[in-house]
């Protein structure tokens, strides 16, 4: 196990020096499940945590009942054990993902060395404090022996040392980060999951919007707001493109209804910063100067900008809005947009479209991308199935028994 490298590392959870017991557990081990349930309860009772919706959503996700449900649904016919020590490199910009990454891997039965974001997010401290408090309890000694959270400035020496000893490495980050970290070898038998930069979009059926009554429309707008504005559209699963299905007149009417709803939700809840307004307007100007595919812009104040596309460029995933800037395109048929989808595509959020139709769109067109198809409102709901992986199964091994 890693011996104390040096004082460049801060140990937020676990023994200084990062020593841990790498002996694996079975997936959904009883003590591990109980521990996550207790962590949930501790965070939900924590006053400081209440200020951070992301901490609360993590706490809500790992509540006892949800973990019990996941355990039931796991329904694994094979004998399984975790892999050993999993080394996590959390994203620098999403404060809470280190906690999810840890929880998924613990559920798979692994010991964990988690590198938290270098930046001082209050969320890091809140979650680590709650974990430390629980791990001080003799009951969770086994979990304590398997848990280390560390923080260090980017350093290939340190990353290389942990990488060289891990049974699996999980990298959250942009494409450049992943290719840089991949230069640092992991042992021959080790596995790796890279959560790379992805692109997401939304499909809305105009007819569905036109059928929606006032309450349903306001729910839809609120859900769309949650998928996008909550993370300023910076999350990989936040949509940048809205594809409208339907005939011209219906789409026109549906758009108006939908976007007015989104604008209302936004104007009421979103705190637009002056710097964001300038960034957004600058992006609009850049698009106007550079892109021939845009046929027009619609501005709803500075809260919501829409760029209408006359055709979909081949590198659609390069067009990314921020702080409420969306590209939209009218398609008669879903199949007509299949050509834009590539491995960069992660989440397709939908409204008013049948699941079977969406499944067929991906399967029949034999698409290389789209790993998640979820209703509008669920874009950010991270879980044990993510980015095309079943994380618990990917981070555990089968013991074939005949």
């Amino acid at each position: 196990m890693p011996t104390a490298p040096d004082n460049r590392i801060t140990y937020l959870v676990g023994k200084s020096g990062g020593e841990l017991s790498a002996a694996p557990l079975v997936p959904y081990d009883e003590l591990a499940c109980e521990f996550l349930g207790s962590l949930s309860a501790a965070l939900l009772a924590d006053k400081a945590a209440k200020l951070y919706p992301d901490v609360i959503s993590f706490a809500y996700w790992c509540r006892k009942a949800n973990i019990a449900r996941l355990r039931r649904e796991f329904a694994e016919p094979n004998v399984r054990l975790g892999l050993g020590m999993v080394f996590h490199i959390a994203p620098s910009n999403v404060p809470i993902n280190f906690a999810f990454s840890y929880a998924f891997s613990l559920l798979a039965g692994n010991a964990n060395t988690v590198r938290v974001p270098t930046r001082d997010f209050p969320q890091t401290g809140i979650v680590c404090a709650a974990i430390n408090q629980l791990l001080a309890n003799e009951k969770y000694k086994n979990i304590a022996d398997m848990t280390v959270f560390i923080k260090y400035q980017q350093d290939d020496g340190i990353t290389g040392e942990f990488s060289g000893k891990c049974a699996a490495r999980i990298i959250w980050g942009g494409d450049q980060a992943i290719s840089n970290i991949r230069k640092l070898p992991i042992p021959e038998r080790s596995r790796e999951i890279a959560f790379a930069d992805r692109y997401s979009f939304c499909v809305i059926d105009a007819g569905g919007v036109l059928l929606a009554d006032k309450a349903a429309l306001s729910r839809l707008a609120g859900s769309f707001y949650k998928d996008t504005y909550l993370m300023d559209q910076n999350a990989c699963s936040s949509p940048h493109l809205v594809v409208w299905l339907g005939k011209g007149a219906a789409v026109k009417e549906a758009k108006e209804k939908f976007w007015n709803g989104v604008y209302e939700a936004t104007a009421a809840k979103y705190e637009l910063q002056p710097v964001n307004a300038v960034d957004k307007y600058t992006l609009l100007c850049e698009n106007a100067i550079e892109l021939d595919t845009i046929t027009g812009f619609t501005k709803h104040g500075n809260y919501l900008y829409r760029a209408e596309l006359g055709s979909l460029p081949g590198n659609m995933e390069a067009l990314r809005g921020k702080y409420g800037f969306f590209y939209e395109y009218n398609a008669k048929e879903l199949d007509s947009i299949a050509h834009i989808v590539n491995t960069k595509y992660q989440t397709l959020t939908y409204f008013g479209v049948e699941k079977a139709r969406l499944r067929d769109f991906v399967v029949k067109n034999r698409l290389s991308g789209i790993d998640r198809i979820v209703p509008v409102g669920s874009a950010l709901d991270i879980g044990v199935i993510w980015d095309g992986y079943d994380i618990v199964r990917s981070l555990s091994r089968i013991i074939e028994l005949k």
Binding site: T118, D197, Q233, C236, T282, E286, A288, G296
Partner: protein, 375 residues
């Protein structure tokens, strides 16, 4: 429309925007007259750039704005200053460009590029003279520049800083530089200069951050107090570095009084994108728009124009830029209009204050772990 007819005449020396007002006293127009002038002049400039700069045309088309449609100066679209860093924006043929100005970005940062033709360059000089002389008088004064001569000798450094020094040098004579080539204060040189001009009023000029670090701090360290009670100091270039050290205009003035007793300190606000038509601080401590420029304050939530007293993003208007579409730009500064036509100093036009740069918000989302931490 006679104004737009004037564009069509070949060989025209002065763009219509400034026609007839170069001889008007720079702080003489009241709101109504100025609004009428600006509607006409800015509409003309907008048409000119629309016709001459394809990128500007694409932008206005995308915004759905037809040049000539404006009903008030507020209707004229603005372009974010950052665009001058990203694109070459010019409305004249490159062969007409006599000077390209750049902003003084630190190494690695992209810089604004501003393309000047003969008319625009000449007008910048004329207008700067008109505006500044309203504050320091028409008479040339012995001048001490608080900077190093290397700035104007080295072409690589020739940027907004060099242009500012050269531009302001026309207000002085017997120009001396207070800092040596390594930016160290040259106290013997300054003392000799003051001895030579004993009893005369002295004009001092420099950039705010440079004065603070290489003059105020250096004099304090040296424990020297300079006899500059007859001095008149003009400075500009922005408060970004000062804000980082929590130094405001008052603290700056006090520090200057302490090290050299300078009686009058006059800040100016301006951008390389609108060189010449700068905003000077009056005796009452207010920044003033002359007839050559104006400010509007925009609500960041919808870009509506805010009344006096409300804080918002500063939009800058200038009648000078005729070779590039910089007549209406959105700055990244926050400010507030204090009043119009009624400043105790007696100058007409808007007067305002600047709070400084908009804050960079923390990015949320899953962007690059490596790139971010490696920086």
């Amino acid at each position: 429309m006679p104004a737009s007819d004037m564009h069509k005449q070949k060989g025209e020396t002065n763009p219509s925007a400034l026609a007839g007002i170069l001889d008007v006293p720079p702080f003489s127009l009241e709101h109504k007259e100025k609004a009428a002038l600006y509607l006409r002049a800015l509409s003309d400039l907008t048409k000119r750039h629309y016709a001459g700069c394809p990128r500007y045309k694409r932008l206005l088309d995308a915004l759905g704005f037809e040049p000539g449609r404006a009903k008030s100066p507020e209707d004229i679209p603005f372009i974010p200053v950052r665009l001058f860093k990203e694109y070459d924006l010019l409305s004249v043929d490159r062969s007409q460009v006599v000077k390209t100005m750049t902003s003084s970005g630190t190494t690695g940062q992209s810089v604004s590029k501003i393309f000047l033709d003969r008319d625009t360059a000449a007008n910048q000089t004329k207008v700067l003279a008109k505006v500044v002389s309203s504050f320091i008088g028409k008479k040339r004064l012995p001048m001490l520049i608080i900077d190093s001569k290397a700035v104007i000798k080295d072409r690589n450094l020739f940027s907004a800083r060099g242009a500012g020094i050269l531009g302001f040098s026309m207000f002085g004579y017997d120009v001396a530089y207070a800092l040596d080539d390594r930016m160290r204060i040259d106290i013997p040189l300054i003392l000799a200069f003051l001895e030579k001009h004993k009893g005369e009023q002295i004009l001092l000029f420099g950039f705010t951050a440079i004065i603070w670090e290489h003059f105020c701090a250096a004099l304090k360290t040296a424990g020297t107090r300079l006899p500059l009670e007859n001095g008149l100091l003009v400075h500009g270039g922005g408060w970004k570095k000062m804000a980082e050290q929590a130094v405001d205009n008052e603290a700056f003035k006090k520090a200057l009084r302490d090290v050299c007793g300078v009686a009058r300190v006059c800040n100016y606000y301006g951008m390389v994108e609108q060189t010449g038509s700068i905003f000077m601080e009056c005796e009452a401590g207010h920044l003033h728009a002359s007839i050559f420029s104006d400010v509007l304050i925009r609500d960041h939530r919808d870009f509506s124009s805010l009344p006096a007293g409300r804080q918002g993003l500063i939009q800058l208007l200038s009648l000078l830029p005729s070779s590039y579409p910089g007549h209406s730009i959105l700055s990244e500064d926050l400010g507030r209009i204090l009043g119009e036509d009624d400043c105790p100093c007696g100058r007409k036009g808007k007067y305002f204050m600047v709070y400084g740069r908009i804050k960079n918000a923390e990015a949320r989302g899953c962007s690059d772990t490596y790139a971010n931490s490696a920086r």
